[in-house]
Symmetry: none
Subunit: 240 residues, 4 copies
DNA sequence: AATGAATGAGGATTCATTCAT
DNA sequence: AATGAATGAATCCTCATTCAT
C-alpha cells in the first residue's frame, strides 16, 4: 500500500529531521522534564531496530507503523516523534547501516610487497565473512527490494557503499595488471566481477535460505583462488 | 432503489500474441460462442504484459489492479477473469517469463574438442547479452524484491531457473578441471561465482540505471577472459 | 450486496414480464427455431428451482446469479432471458410457491354438524404436517428475511397467503363462539393466536434445526387439543 | 508522490450512555491519556445504535459500514476500532440486546396461591407489551433474517433467549396441569404454543406494519384468556 | 514527550448486468 | 435462444497520519 498520504516529500525539511533525535535541539534545562536524553536516544534506537526488523520481514509497503511501534514497545504515535513519515523511518534504518562503514577494504593500504590477491584475502575476505552478521546483507536486500520507491536512498547507497568498493577494486585490478599478477584487465573494466558473487550470495541467503545457506566467505575465498591463484602458504582447494 | 449502469466502451483491442485461456486451455467447441480463443489469449497476454510493467514500475504492493487494467486497455474487473487475485497475477507474470527457457546453455552440448570457455562464449554469452531485452532481468528483480511475499514463487524460480544454471556450470567446471582448462575447482564448489556478476549486473541496471547502464554481455565476456583466459582467435581485452 | 444496479424497478413493465416464459408471445412457426416450448418451460422451471435453492441457502443478497445459473445447468446469461433482474427472479420464486394455494383450509366447507375443532383437525392439520415438505416454510422464511427489500412481494404474500388464513380462522372462531364450542372470543379478535405457533415452528425449523426439529403437525394437534379440547374419539395426550 | 490528507472535522459528539471499551474493559490507568473511558463507551454505544438502525432498515448485507459510521457521526474507519468486521458489529448489536435480560418472566417466582394464568398475566404480559419498544422484536427479526449467515449468533440467541423462556413455560405448564388449572399437557409438550403468537406478532409488525400494527400485548392477553380462562376480577373479552 | 483514538483516502475484490458471437 | 467474456459501480477494510489529552 505504500505511502500515499505523507505530509511532505521524503527527506525534505520536516519539523524533525529524520535521523536526529528530537531532543537534539533542546538545550539542557534544570528541572528536567521528560525522559533523559539518554533514554530518548535509546528509544530512537529501539524504534530503528524495530523498524529494521519489520521492514526486513514484510518489506516496506507491508510493514505497518503499528507493528514497528509494537516491536519497539512504544505507542503507535511515538515513532512519529522521531521520524516524520514512514519513508523517513525507512531511510533512517538504511542510513544507520550504511553509515557503519560498509566495507573495511579501502581503508587499509597494501603492505610493502604484498600482492593484490593477498591483500584482498587479508582485508576484504573477513568483511565478507561477516557480512551476514552485520545485517548489511539484509539492508542491501532491502535497498534492492525497495529501490524503486527510494531513488534518493539508492543514490546514497550507490555513492557511499557501492561505488567506493568498485573503485577500490578497479584500482587494485589496475595494480595487479601492472604488477603482472593478472594478465586480464577484466577487473579494471568490470570490477563488478569481483563483487558480483558477493551480491549473489546475499540474495541467495535472502531468497533461497531454505534450500541451503551459501557460505559467502568461503565462496569469496574460492573466487580469489580462481582469479588470483591459490594462496602460496596453504595450497588448499585446487586441483593438480 | 436501482442504480443505472452505463454499458461502457469495450476496451481498446491490443495485439499481443500467445497466451492461455482463463481457466485452462479450453477445448475447441462446436458452435463457438463468445470471443475467439485467439482474442481471449491476446487479452490474457495483454494483461500479463501490463501487469509486468506495472509491477516493475511500482513494485507489487504499490501497483494497483486498476493501473494494470488501464494499461491493458480493459475494465477494472477484467483481469480478475484471468487471475483470481493480484498475487495470482504476479505469479502469472513471473511464470510467463520463467517458462521461456531461461538460458540456452544446457540445451546445447559441447562440440567435439570444444573447450569449456569457448562453449560458454558460444552459448551463455548470447543469452546474457539478451537478458535485459527478454524481460528476464526485470522479472529476476521482481522476484528478489517481492520474494518474501511469494515463497512458493521463489521456490519455482529457484527450481526452474536458478538451480539448473548452477548445476550446468558446476558440471562444466568439473569438466574444465578434468581437462586441465582450469586449475581451481572453485567453480565446482561455487558455480555461483560465474553467475554472480550476472546478477549484480541485473541489479545494477535495475537500481543504478541513472548512473550508467552496465553492459552485462561485455562484462560476462570479460569474466570469461579472466577465468578461462582470452579466446584464441581474437586477443582482445587483455594486457601485455 | 443486494441489487444496486438493476435496470428498472422490480416488477415493472420489462420486456419479458417476470413469471412468463419467453416463448409465450411467440406464435408457433413452422420450421421451428430454437428449443421447443416444452424445453423452454422446463428450463424456466429449472432456473426457478435453482434460484429457490440458492436463495434459501444464502439469502437473497448473498446468492449469486452465477450460482443460480450453475445449479440450473445453464450459462450465466440465461436466467436473464426469463427474469430481467435478480429481484424479478426472487419474486418469481416466491410467487411460484404462493401460487400453490398456501393452505387447503378455507377451500373446504365444514361438514354438517362438524364442530370447528374437528373441522380444523380434518383440514388444516394435514396442511401443517406437510408445510415443510412443500417448501412453503422455506419460502415463508425467505419472505421474512428479505421482506424489507421486497415490500411489493410482502404485500402479495400478505394478501394471498397470510390474510386469507387469518380471515378464515376469524370466521371459524366466530362460529365456534356462536355454537358454544369456545367461550372466549380471542380467536375472533386475534386469529393470529392459532397460526402463531405454526410460524414459530417454521422459524424454529429454519433457525434452530440443529438443536432439534419441531414437529409442526404434532404441535398444531396439541394446540387444537388445548383450545378446543381433545378430540372425542381418541382421548390421547391429555391429563386426568 | 505524497498526497495531502485533510485532517477532517471530528465527528459530532453523540450522547448515549453505557457501553464497553474497544477491546476489553480497560483498567483505569494513571496519567490518563486520550479520551475518557466514558467518551469511548459513549462512542461505542452510538456505533451499536447506529448499526442496529442500519441493519434493521436495510438488512445485514445491504447496510453499509459507511452508513453506520455516518449515522453514528464518526469517520468511516472508526467503527473498526470497536468491531473488527461488519459481522462482529452485527453480533455486537444482537448481543447488546440479548444481554439485556430478554424476559422478565422466570425471574420472579409465583406468589403463594397464585394461579399460573394470573402469574403469566402479572409477569410475562408486561414484557410482551414492551417488546417492540425495547428493540427486542427488531433484533429477533434481524436474527431470523440473517440467521443463516450467523450460526454462532443464532446459537447464542437460542440458548440465551429462546430456550429459557420455553423451559420456563414448560415448567409452568406442568404446574398448571398438576394443579388442575389446565387439563391438557399441550404446553408441557409444546411450550412453543404459548410464545408462537408472540413471534407471529413480532413478524407481523416487522413485515406487515403498513397493513396495521398488531397489539402484541392485547393479543397475548387474549391468548391467556383463551387458554387459562378469563381473569376472575375483570370479566373482559369473552362471550356470555 | 508520549499516547492511542480517530480520521479518511485508497484499493482489492465482487457480481449484477450487458452484448457480441 | 443461449452463451460467457467483459464491464464498472459499489463496498469492505487497511493503515499512515493527526491531535486532544
Amino acid at each position: 500500500m505504500a505511502v500515499k498520504r505523507g505530509a511532505g516529500q521524503a527527506g525534505a525539511e520536516d519539523a524533525t529531521p529524520a535521523g536526529q533525535a528530537p531532543q537534539a535541539r533542546r538545550p539542557l534545562r534544570r528541572g528536567q522534564r521528560g525522559p533523559s536524553p539518554d533514554k530518548t536516544a535509546r528509544r530512537r534506537d529501539g524504534i530503528v531496530r524495530a523498524a529494521m526488523a519489520a521492514f526486513m520481514e514484510h518489506g516496506f509497503a507491508d510493514a505497518t507503523m503499528a507493528d514497528v511501534a509494537q516491536r519497539a514497545g512504544v505507542a503507535k504515535g511515538t515513532p512519529y516523534r522521531y521520524f516524520p513519515t514512514k519513508e523517513a523511518l525507512f531511510e533512517g534504518v538504511v542510513q544507520e547501516v550504511i553509515g557503519k562503514a560498509l566495507f573495511g577494504a579501502g581503508k587499509e593500504t597494501r603492505l610493502a610487497g604484498e600482492r593484490v590477491g593477498a591483500y584482498l584475502r587479508r582485508t576484504l575476505l573477513p568483511a565478507m565473512r561477516e557480512i551476514e552478521l552485520a545485517g548489511r546483507a539484509a539492508v542491501a536486500r532491502l535497498v534492492i527490494a525497495e529501490g524503486a520507491r527510494f531513488p534518493a536512498l539508492v543514490e546514497v547507497y550507490r555513492r557511499e557503499a557501492y561505488e567506493p568498493l568498485l573503485r577500490r577494486i578497479e584500482a587494485l585490478g589496475r595494480e595487479a595488471v601492472a604488477e603482472g599478477e593478472l594478465r586480464s584487465d577484466a577487473l579494471v573494466r568490470f570490477p563488478h566481477i569481483l563483487v558480483g558473487p558477493l551480491w549473489l550470495g546475499m540474495l541467495h541467503n535472502g531468497l533461497f535460505r531454505q534450500a541451503g545457506v551459501l557460505d559467502i566467505g568461503e565462496m569469496f575465498a574460492a573466487e580469489l583462488d580462481l582469479i588470483f591463484g591459490p594462496p602460496p602458504e596453504s595450497p588448499p582447494t585446487h586441483v593438480g
